[in-house]
């Protein structure tokens, strides 16, 4: 014995009581019978949804700031941090008069996440120095075409009239 804390757990000798096996069966039946009156563990999925946690890692969102300008500055850190290489972007320079659209002088004119590559690891939201990208509790729905899974800015950027609250999922130490 290597350690002195081992215990033998398997007892293959059956007592007479166990050998006649009817008590065990009746005991089992009793357990299953009891479970009939328990609360159902299943839910009727598409109609009824399980409450997910606030920090659930689902579909991404590109946040806007308080004034509605896009926060992302196309720094590319999220793409670097992505273990699945799912993110790609093209950076552009902000022109005069676009200050209400983009928060920084540089912004992403194209920003794509391939949801088929993405493994929803959450490393991108951690990497973003502008708090621009977050994962949400929503799921990516199924599509028929592969092309449809490549989410561009049209589907990623937060809509001005439908703000998404991400304050709960910001890491505690990020305040």
């Amino acid at each position: 014995m290597l350690s002195n804390r081992s215990i033998k757990v398997s007892n293959k000798k059956m007592t007479f009581w166990e050998r006649i096996y009817l008590p065990a069966i009746i005991g089992g039946m009793f357990v299953t019978f009891k479970h009939i009156f328990k609360k159902k563990a299943t839910i009727k999925y598409p109609e009824q949804k399980r409450p997910v946690s606030d920090v659930y890692r689902g579909k991404h969102i590109l946040k806007r700031d308080e004034n509605g300008a896009e926060r992302c500055t196309a720094c590319g850190l999220c793409a670097v941090a992505c273990p699945a290489e799912a993110i790609s972007m093209i950076a552009s320079e902000r022109k005069m008069g676009e200050e209400n659209l983009y928060r920084e002088e540089k912004y992403a004119s194209v920003y794509e996440i391939n949801m088929l590559r993405c493994i929803f690891c959450g490393l991108c939201e951690e990497a973003c120095p502008k708090e621009a990208i977050f994962l949400t509790t929503e799921l990516v729905p199924p599509f028929l075409e592969r092309q449809d899974f490549i989410y561009g800015k049209d589907r990623l950027v937060e809509q001005v009239d439908k703000r998404v609250d991400v304050s709960k999922r910001k890491l505690k130490h990020t305040v």
Binding site: S3, S6, K34, S53, F120, G122
Partner: protein, 405 residues
């Protein structure tokens, strides 16, 4: 062919059958193998005369991919080894890197890790044991314990945001502290689980039908098991009380009282009972950890490896530099060679890491216990019935993701 014929006549187990062998492909995708691996069985009627295992069906070249990934991006890869207990793999990897860097981990982080790892172990053992029952035709127990597994996954979800591919923890600690809800769910689990588990036990443990079905099925002697390099529950079932948690304590396991269950002759019943007891021991470890939980931070103070708070990133130059360096994987890691192992749900899960000081490992090897068990499978099922082979496989808990890294 002559040789084969001679073999057959020499083999006692198949003596009584007429000497016609048929080939049966069990797998690659067979509902009873719970994963993608192929067994080419030479069948003599219902008995297995010999078998050959093929693996590599879900080989994803993780070890190679890891050579191109910064250290903190390898954690998502380890999720996909033994996907029934990802947190153990994640935390094991983090601890390997911590060993390489040589950082001190706060006591509280150790305890939180122990809780998470033991929860994962319970989830893994529940799946394995209930699936043994399913493979012998008893589906009811499975549905009961799956509700409990669901609770465990909900606790993971509260902490890291995902249920299966958790990517939990960071180098140096956790990404976030256990919140209110997580603690509440954990307490509820600790309260409810023993009752539900009792039901499962009543259904199976001393039920003669189940016992007769699995006693002396797929046995392996302690000596053979050691020769193959078995670890974990499968070795303990053969009667050797080797457990990394006790032999080489990591993450403050020395602080906890727990017993190491062992079996007699390494058959399916022993493996079942060993896992059954281990679940109880894990539960007691979690209870102890909850009671003794020290105060302190939930991550170590390692600014070079642990991401700084975002508020600091905006205001402090140093934090900003660290933030960029960590994300780009440019923080210096020492050169060196480390081996670190944790007691995974399936056995000793080892990480052999060679670093040349670069941004990613020079070489990384995962010592996956399933890979080793699977080598012995052919020997364990020789001369057995086909249905016994299925039970043997599920009781060894061969997980395809861990078999082919």
């Amino acid at each position: 062919m002559d040789n084969l014929q001679k073999n057959i006549t020499e083999n006692k187990a198949v003596d009584n059958f007429d000497n016609k062998l048929s080939t049966l492909n069990l797998g690659p995708t067979h509902p009873a193998t719970h994963g993608i691996f192929q067994n080419v069985l030479k069948m003599d009627g219902e008995r297995i005369h010999s078998s050959e295992q093929t693996l590599g069906y879900i080989h994803r070249a993780f070890e190679k991919i890891a050579e191109r990934r910064p250290y903190n991006q390898i954690r998502p890869l380890t999720d996909r080894l033994n996907y029934c207990s990802s947190p153990i793999n994640n935390i094991g990897w983090d601890m390997t890197v911590e060993k390489l860097i040589g950082i001190e981990i706060p006591k509280r982080v150790d305890y939180l890790r122990v809780i998470i790892m033991e929860l994962a172990r319970i989830a893994d053992h529940l799946i394995c044991n209930s699936v043994i029952a399913v493979d012998t035709g008893a589906l009811t127990g499975f549905t009961y314990v799956f509700q409990e597994r669901e609770r465990i996954y909900e606790i993971f979800e509260e902490i890291c945001g995902a249920r299966l591919t958790t990517n939990i923890g960071r180098i140096g600690g956790f990404e976030r502290d256990f919140n209110e809800t997580a603690n509440k769910k954990l307490k509820l689990f600790l309260k409810e689980f023993p009752k539900r588990f009792k039901d499962f036990e009543t259904l199976l443990c001393r039920n003669r039908i189940f016992m007769d079905r699995i006693i002396n099925v797929g046995p392996i002697s302690a000596e053979r098991a050691l020769n193959y390099g078995f670890t974990g529950p499968n070795l303990r079932a053969a009667g050797i009380d080797y457990d990394v948690r006790a032999m080489n304590p990591y993450s403050s396991y020395q602080d906890f009282e727990f017993k190491i269950p062992v079996g007699e002759n390494g058959d399916t019943f022993d493996r079942f009972m060993v896992r059954q007891e281990e679940i109880k021991q894990s539960l007691s470890i979690i209870n102890q950890a909850m009671d003794m939980m020290p105060e302190g931070p939930y991550h170590a103070d390692v600014p070079e490896f642990y991401l700084p708070p975002k508020t600091d990133v905006y205001t402090k130059m140093e934090a900003l530099i660290y933030h960029f360096k960590i994300i780009m994987g440019e923080t210096k890691v020492p050169e060196g060679e480390v081996y670190f192992s944790v007691e995974g749900a399936n056995g000793e899960l080892g990480y052999y890491l060679i670093s040349d000081g670069g941004r990613s490992p020079y070489r990384l090897h995962f010592r996956r216990p399933c890979f080793i068990y699977y080598q012995a499978f052919s020997e364990m099922i020789k001369g057995a019935l086909l249905s016994d082979a299925i039970v043997t496989m599920s009781s060894m808990n061969v997980i395809a993701g861990e078999l082919d890294a």
